[in-house]
Symmetry: C4
Subunit: 333 residues, 4 copies
Amino acid sequence: MKQIIDHTGHQEGAGVTVHTTDKLASSALGVSVSSSDEREIIHPQFLWGKIREYIHEPASEFFGTMILVLFGDGAVAQVTLSNGEKGGYQSISWGWGLGVMLGVYASGISGSHINPAVTLASCILRKFPWRKFPIYAIAQLLGGMCGAAIVYGNYRSAIDVYEGGSHIRTVPGYSSTATAGIFCTYPAEFMTRTGQFFSEFLASSILMFMIFALKDNNNLGAGPLTPLALFFVIFGIGACFGWETGYAINLARDFGPRLVSYMIGYGPHVWTAGNYYFWVPIVAPFFGCTFGGWIYDMFLYTGDDSPVNTACLGLRRLITPLRRKHHTSETHV
Amino acid sequence: MKQIIDHTGHQEGAGVTVHTTDKLASSALGVSVSSSDEREIIHPQFLWGKIREYIHEPASEFFGTMILVLFGDGAVAQVTLSNGEKGGYQSISWGWGLGVMLGVYASGISGSHINPAVTLASCILRKFPWRKFPIYAIAQLLGGMCGAAIVYGNYRSAIDVYEGGSHIRTVPGYSSTATAGIFCTYPAEFMTRTGQFFSEFLASSILMFMIFALKDNNNLGAGPLTPLALFFVIFGIGACFGWETGYAINLARDFGPRLVSYMIGYGPHVWTAGNYYFWVPIVAPFFGCTFGGWIYDMFLYTGDDSPVNTACLGLRRLITPLRRKHHTSETHV
Amino acid sequence: MKQIIDHTGHQEGAGVTVHTTDKLASSALGVSVSSSDEREIIHPQFLWGKIREYIHEPASEFFGTMILVLFGDGAVAQVTLSNGEKGGYQSISWGWGLGVMLGVYASGISGSHINPAVTLASCILRKFPWRKFPIYAIAQLLGGMCGAAIVYGNYRSAIDVYEGGSHIRTVPGYSSTATAGIFCTYPAEFMTRTGQFFSEFLASSILMFMIFALKDNNNLGAGPLTPLALFFVIFGIGACFGWETGYAINLARDFGPRLVSYMIGYGPHVWTAGNYYFWVPIVAPFFGCTFGGWIYDMFLYTGDDSPVNTACLGLRRLITPLRRKHHTSETHV
Amino acid sequence: MKQIIDHTGHQEGAGVTVHTTDKLASSALGVSVSSSDEREIIHPQFLWGKIREYIHEPASEFFGTMILVLFGDGAVAQVTLSNGEKGGYQSISWGWGLGVMLGVYASGISGSHINPAVTLASCILRKFPWRKFPIYAIAQLLGGMCGAAIVYGNYRSAIDVYEGGSHIRTVPGYSSTATAGIFCTYPAEFMTRTGQFFSEFLASSILMFMIFALKDNNNLGAGPLTPLALFFVIFGIGACFGWETGYAINLARDFGPRLVSYMIGYGPHVWTAGNYYFWVPIVAPFFGCTFGGWIYDMFLYTGDDSPVNTACLGLRRLITPLRRKHHTSETHV
């Protein structure tokens, strides 16, 4: 931003757009906002300012994922509990689609990952610093849990009415008035284990492929329209690949709320349902996102920050000592 | 705008975009357009020009809220009175969503609040001048009333047919062909008082959190896409948290039309329905919007105009004499 | 455009955006593109280039209105003839909404009016040259007729199946398998004449009010998002005020196709239906659009091109000799 | 991009937007990105970098078409196999609409054709090099086939359940539980051959007319909103002209998946159904797109790259030796 202001002020008026675009292009979903810039904006002379400086990025991921789960789980809750009177399946596609869109808007400070699998793929393929991965993943998980808890609080009396009592909480496949599906995904009955995994893997691959395409300014590039385009990506995954496994494609949005539903009292069925399905949406998105991103980089991406555009497709990095590489990547960010 | 033109004219061509963006970023939903700029555009040499100079901002809020209620109440009216033949619940989500979007476009002159709770949160958290709060609130209320009256005028014969006579006007819970729900919200039957309040509080919090996120250019920032993003916010609140209390989240959009429905002849049930529910959508949005905005500022916002980014989280302001503070804030605007 | 290129070339890269924005702001739906610019682009050295120079603007309005009617009437045809299997009422709202959006994109050359009532309001309130009004209106009418004829050609066999024979063509109110509603609007049965007129008047007022709001850069201004915002305006009018009279709000989109349906053989009922309803969507939009635009100008608009911002609210213009006024307005364009 | 940076650096900040817009305006759907620019970005010092330099554009078309078919066929699969529980006809309109939108984003490197008929029209009317036509068409066809195969893999068990066995694969018209319609289009039963052809021809014409309108910056021009506007175009064609023949309008999206469905084991009925309908969506789009594009150029387009804006409407090109023309066009690109 400094550069723009230094340039004899011509760009002052346009600064806002420029800023947005620039940030979106260089940071969102790829590389985090460089903290040196922020230090000037944050107010470290006050205690809270100092604390917030450290929690700014995790807080951003936390709230982004919370917004995502609030809208997503909220949409499923409203459709389920009102017996389809206040929305149908399309309403759920809208809910998750706009949940992602608004979650991305809410978490631009930290690069708008709101999904541990996206963070992982960014670490592997876009030089996002590895040391941030656990912090981001935990913040996202907590955000998902918090969102699910709020949705439960809001729909508690409606769940009581629907399930038939305030102590009855049931899981799909074990009851005809199950409400556990509000919080996390349960697969369709006819699905094999391979089919479950493939469905989640495919949806995650498409997600990451499209994120990298939308962020790539040597391709068309969505620029400031990226959050809107992500609405269409998620809506599309819901409308086209959402039936079989409920398109979790995100540990924080599925495992987090599942944990909450277990705490609330839905019982051990949340883990055993679908033949211990619960680990699929934990594992598959990591593989899917990395694969989808790698395919994009392999065939379409020409930026220097992807390992496939370095010597030996980046395999040399795996061989040479890791310490020096880490050093380099951190100074780049 | 002056600055841009003075800068050796380079930005002339780009002026239009710049202007829009700039206005959106600095004024909409936060700080009103500085009146010194407008004085040059308005034509005070004519009587009407002089009068309009004083009523410009209230008029803008009036028409913005009127547009909001026209589309919102209109959508509910069409769905209700046609027995769902000309639209379903999703149609109502569209109506309120685009009502807000178009209302925001119509009222950019005054900062596009179209909701007293948004004005209040802007006063508390964004240095919006307190003296404008009552003017804005009254203009918004009158706009909501006017919109509801027009909708009634347009659907009068259809209401007669639906209710079964031109003198029959009934309220949900007291009749199976009630039409009072066209104008304002009535809660679902199973809701407790706490649940009602929490539902409105939650929806208002999400609204304000997202408005501040969309306006924050140190976050991703929606820039000129803000009205479109607000469509998704309102659509989402409708699709995900709209069932239980009808997501009033706005005094002007609920109390205004409720008053009109009382005047029209829906009787005292408009006040007593849902165990005197009517005060919830008056009170809850003020608390919800302020809380949602405060959460955003506390954890994510770094701008100087929020009290949480000043000494002692702005609490000092409450202690030191108010007069001097007022003086400062006004010269800023 | 010249200005931009002359400015030492700084804006070359940005030229495209700027151009689009600039054109949208200054010309679309208000003032036509100045022909002096186009003369340099058009190729008058060839016969067709010379001819096209004269028909460029009418052709643009023709195709814009044709696109509007193609999508709008097409949507109604598909929903009606497939008995709601391939779309419902919402599908019709989409059809007209995107018909307007894409029609506006197709006719930017002539200012994207695609509605005689919009042209009239532009003449009265935005100094659009009066001499162009008849040319625009005829081009729009022909475009609407052409679009309706193509829709008929495409759905001919489906209409035969639906009506029960290739020579049977019936009008709503006279048959349970009527298909005339595909082409133009017929009012709901319970509507009084006053109600019909008011419904069309109201929808047209909202349309023009929103067009002026979206085009006003001293308000928020939609800039390059204007066509998208118009999608929401039309979708909203359809979802909120579309039931009672079918929201014609446009002579070219209603009278044009009605004429075509009469020619095709739907018989004199197309004129007599609804107690000679046919003249309402011809007359009401002119009054509605002018009123809606005037309200906007009266309370919110500060631009010099509106008569309400001149001495005596422009009434002086009506008094002083018209010839000189015409002269002035033309040199402005 | 060089130009912008050389201009004393004023535009650095705005570079990203500018770049996107510029690319969209000059290359997407018209002329491919000049390879001289890319050579600097691609890394030819590595073997894969060298290979990718040659396959970059076909790979881009391959993945763009694959994304299109993944979402489009996926939407049809989900709606069909879940018996409409997880989406209805509108869901299919969304699927194809956003499939095109996201396919366009994914294939900006090659100009986002993702349709052989669009490539042909670009060759004829926008000087797109003819030598690229076969490469593009093959890449698009393979992309469509690959997308259909993935959809089949994902929905295999659901198809087994729906058809009633893992070896039963049936075609519409020959079975009440046919699933071949997931992959390619089959016409409605009442359609004549002429009607089938006209329906595909009309939809293709509208598509190409709108693409040229959206890309024409002397018209309104959609600029960076083009992919979003294309969503509305495809959604509109689906909602308004999609019933009779299923709006294939694309060889790669219909013939490719049809071939895959034949390989999978749907039998020779995929070719014989609808009285050997299969050739219509192969042939009609080429004529339709060329006609629609020609109409646009004839009446509205003023750019130099269209043959209708050269001497004798470009017919001279057909007469004079082709070799020299080819030479010229290649140096231009």
